[in-house]
């Protein structure tokens, strides 16, 4: 699954993912995980040693996790998470996913906001060392922070652009000073970038050094080899200070074809799969796969939506946007797409399920209601023409939806929508495009009416300013760097979003985010659509606590995986 750069660690997925408000966990076959992700599922005792092969549906282009390759989710799964230490990990606490200090740190960092600034102090675990034996030090934090803040061609500078200074009073202490309070400070040195080894990279061309992988590690695994187009092989890092891997070797084999990947699982050529839930994959899962366990987890960080260009006809009218939301039977769409695996509820907020404490399901008010469509459209001066299509000033309510070619699930989604919208008096056409065109040209230039694509939250931190703050509208002023592609500019929303980004008090932050959720639902800048759960399948020969972590993916605890006893 490839991803698109997005500030605040939200991501536009080029393939698929979506949101659900309710946690839905479905299991199949002989047993399954629970969606726990924190050692969830029924742990199966494992033996020491052995090798497994995992099917990976995409290959990263490079291994420079600060540059554009930071957007490769499979790069993260196959190499980054296994080798790059992070300050915070995401673990389940009750029903919610929360950041927790990792074993890279000696304890929870302390943070203090004074006089409009914020200071964070990290104490590094004395046992933490790189694979060459060099201690992980404050200099590594400093190198990473400054590379991101000051570097060129950086994937995402969110949070790091607030760094005023970074002090290293001793080799194991880092004091980070921010120019202003940053509520999402736990993301720093965490899921996005982690911490890179200064003693190996400082003063060198990082991109060139990391383009084909690397031999160092600060995690439980070392990259033994990366054969382009074929596989990545991991072996245990003997210097890792935490729990050592049970397996001797893990190979991620790149299998781009979903049908072939399922056959590889059935034939025993791969031992686990984490497929994008496309239609063919869903039908295979629903049919059952012998000797395989599975987990279907709908508490994800994914949100698929119809993103509307609020500055282009016909969606420059709030009434039309609201009418559109009332024209769609989103439950029917979700049920058609994912009903077979037990996922039936549409997304009702722009906060993804892993951020459900921050949302208020404000979009729940929009259900199929053609009377309301009629009332809104006529109230806005529209009348139906001879073909039953709304028209105003001689222009019909017709629009094109940009979508990425080759995604069958989205094709089906759009087919259903076309039929539903035609009944409501809208004409929708589909325009297939490529990721490079859509996210490189069409969307930044605002040269679209609507688009169907996905956001992914990779950290449980609520912020919507990148998507909806007026300052994030791509423009010459910000070097076309904003990703408020829909040109959303809702009265009263900007200060609320800013408060969400600054407020360090969790209760006040939740209050602000719920307010933002309601403002967004009222203005309908986009329509949150379908639920796309995460799916993990693994052979019964595997054991250990195997479960999906919606933030870090299914391989977050690969060191605990093994061959069943």
């Amino acid at each position: 699954m490839s991803r698109h750069p997005r500030r605040v660690r939200r991501t536009l997925a080029l393939v698929a993912s979506a949101a659900l408000l309710a946690l839905v966990t479905a299991c199949s076959n002989s047993s399954a995980g629970t969606g726990g992700g924190n050692g969830g599922g029924d742990p199966v005792a494992v033996r020491q040693g052995g090798a497994i092969v995992i099917g990976a549906e995409a290959e990263p282009d490079c291994a420079d996790w600060l540059g554009t390759c930071a957007g490769s989710i499979w790069g993260s799964y196959t190499m980054k998470e296994a080798t790059v230490p992070v300050a915070f990990v995401v673990r389940k606490d009750g029903d919610h996913w929360v950041p927790k200090a990792s074993d890279l740190l000696a304890g929870e960092p302390t943070t203090q906001a004074t006089g409009g600034t914020q200071t964070i102090t990290y104490k590094i675990n004395p046992a933490a060392v790189w694979s060459d034996g060099t201690p992980i030090s404050a200099e590594d934090f400093k190198y990473t922070a400054l590379q991101v803040r000051d570097g060129k061609d950086i994937f995402d500078k969110t949070g790091y652009d607030k760094i005023a200074s970074i002090a290293t009073p001793d080799p194991k202490t880092v004091v980070l000073s921010l120019k202003e309070p940053y509520a999402g400070w736990q993301q720093l040195f965490s899921s996005g970038y982690g911490v890179l080894p200064a003693h190996l990279l400082a003063g060198k061309n990082r991109g060139a050094l990391l383009k084909d992988g690397y031999t160092w590690s600060g995690g439980p695994w070392l990259i033994e080899s990366w054969k382009r187009g074929t596989s990545v092989t991991l072996v245990p890092n003997p210097k890792y200070w935490g729990a050592k891997p049970k397996l001797d070797k893990v190979t991620f084999q790149f299998i781009a074809d979903t049908a072939a990947a399922f056959q590889a699982l059935k034939s025993g050529q791969v031992d686990a799969l984490y497929p994008t839930p496309q239609l063919d994959a869903l039908s295979q899962i629903a049919a059952g796969i012998p000797n395989t366990k599975s987990e279907v987890d709908a508490q994800t960080g994914n949100l698929e939506a119809i993103w509307l260009n609020n500055a282009r006809f016909p969606f420059d009218s709030q009434a039309v946007r609201q009418a559109l939301a009332y024209s769609i039977d989103r439950k029917a769409v979700v049920n058609r797409l994912f009903g077979s695996i037990g996922v039936k509820q549409p997304a009702q907020s722009f906060f993804t399920p892993i951020l459900d404490t921050y949302g208020d399901a404000a979009f729940g008010e929009y259900e199929l209601d053609l009377d309301k469509v009629e009332s809104l459209m006529t109230g806005d001066g529209w009348t139906k023409n001879g073909s039953g299509i709304w028209a105003k000033g001689g222009k019909p309510a017709a629009f094109a939806v940009e979508t990425l070619a080759g995604n069958k699930r989205r094709d089906l989604t759009l087919q259903i929508l076309q039929a539903q919208l035609a009944k409501a008096g809208f004409t929708m056409t589909v325009h297939n495009t490529t990721p490079a065109d859509l996210f490189g040209k069409t969307a930044p230039n605002g040269d679209f009416q609507a688009g169907l694509y996905t956001l992914i939250d990779t950290f449980p931190d609520p912020t919507l300013s990148a998507s909806f703050a007026s300052s994030s509208i791509p423009s010459e002023a910000n070097g076309f760097s904003g990703i408020n592609f829909g040109r959303v500019n809702i009265a009263g929303l900007d200060p609320v979003l800013a408060e969400m980004d600054r407020e360090l008090d969790p209760a006040k932050r939740i209050e602000a985010s719920k307010k933002a959720d309601q403002l967004l639902a009222d203005a309908v800048p986009a329509v949150p659509m379908d639920a796309l759960p995460n799916v993990l399948l693994w052979s019964t020969k595997l054991g250990g606590p195997i479960a999906i972590n919606p933030s870090e993916g299914p391989f977050w605890n690969l060191n605990e995986w093994g061959l069943a006893k």
């Binding site: 092969v53 061609d153 060139a208 187009g229 070797k249 049908a259």
Partner: protein
């Protein structure tokens, strides 16, 4: 023959040059070389790269710069991977070359046999069966047929026979940790080569049959028969040998196009060859890979045609290479 080969290569150079220019203009008109960078938050990066890559120059100037790089071995850097384009294409060419070699070799042998058999026994039951099968083969889409073969020859045998491993593999050309020409390689090779071979045999056998029928009805065959030359000798030494020349032309053209045309086969069998490289580069809009890739395929067409021309002289004593 050497003189002929050298002359043909020299004659081919202008063709390759013209083709490369047309490709260059077409690709530049279709793709934005800086497409990926337009998402960058660094406002200076576009200007910097425009100047570095010479995109502010005229198209002929850009073409000459690019051509100079190709000739001197500097094929550029992929915007997708940041890697050297020559290495990328080189490493993708090798797996494809293996598939093409084995696929074309087996397909040629089988198609030649089927062609001769069908022509000699025209309208027999065997000819009808082979004709029907060839139409089925032509109609089979590779993406579907490949999956059927995987199911029938790898997944089902393992499940039905309770094997720990499938008898044939279908992910890549080697299992993790293995390399070289061994049993593991052969077990990986069978299914993709079979997919390719069956598709090729289906179309080549139809062409070969028609070519063989032409030869069988020609005057020299009638003369040979009238002179009492044994039937087997007439078929193999006179008719088959002469019918092979046009057959080889088709084989050469198809084989050359296979260098870039195995997208589906390589995708299904997870083989990192030229087809997958093309697909990945196309989706990423990586013009710095696409252009040399197309040039390599164009050169492959020229080389394969040269091989076909040279083989005419070996097959047909009337052909003299000058």
């Amino acid at each position: 023959m050497l003189t002929y080969a050298v002359r043909r290569i020299l004659f081919s150079l202008p063709i390759v040059l013209v083709a490369s220019f047309v490709l260059f203009v077409a690709v530049r008109a279709t793709f934005d070389p800086l497409g990926k960078l337009r998402q960058s938050r660094d406002p200076e990066v576009l200007q910097r790269e425009t100047e570095r890559l010479g995109l502010n120059k005229s198209v002929p100037e850009q073409y000459l710069l690019w051509l100079k790089g190709i000739v001197t071995g500097n094929w550029g850097v992929s915007t997708r991977t940041g890697g050297d384009v020559r290495s990328l294409i080189g490493s993708a060419l090798w797996p494809t070359l293996q598939l093409v070699f084995w696929g074309v070799l087996f397909a040629m042998l089988i198609a030649a046999f089927v062609s001769v058999y069908s022509a000699v026994r025209q309208y027999s039951a065997g000819d009808h069966v082979l004709t029907a099968l060839s139409y089925v083969g032509i109609a089979l889409p590779a993406f579907w047929f490949g999956l059927v073969l995987i199911q029938l020859l790898a997944v089902l045998p393992r499940q039905k026979l309770g094997l720990s491993d499938p008898p044939l593999y279908f992910v890549g050309l080697h299992s993790p940790g293995s390399s070289g020409f061994d049993l593991d390689y052969l077990r990986h090779l069978v299914l993709p080569v079979l997919t390719l071979t069956i598709t090729l045999v289906a179309s080549w056998s139809r062409f070969g049959r028609a070519s063989m029928l032409d030869a069988l009805s020609s005057d020299y065959v009638r003369t040979a028969r009238a002179k009492g030359v044994p039937r087997r000798q007439v078929i193999l030494r006179h008719a088959a040998r002469n019918s092979l020349a046009p057959f080889l032309t088709v084989v050469a053209l198809d084989a050359a196009l296979l260098f870039g045309g195995l997208v589906v086969t390589e995708q299904i069998y997870s083989i990192p060859g030229m087809g997958r490289l093309f697909l990945d580069s196309l989706l990423a809009g990586d013009v710095f890979v696409l252009l040399p890739w197309m040039l390599v395929v164009a050169v492959a067409v020229v080389v394969c045609n040269l091989i076909a021309d040279l083989s005419y002289a070996l097959l047909d004593p009337r052909v003299r290479l000058r």
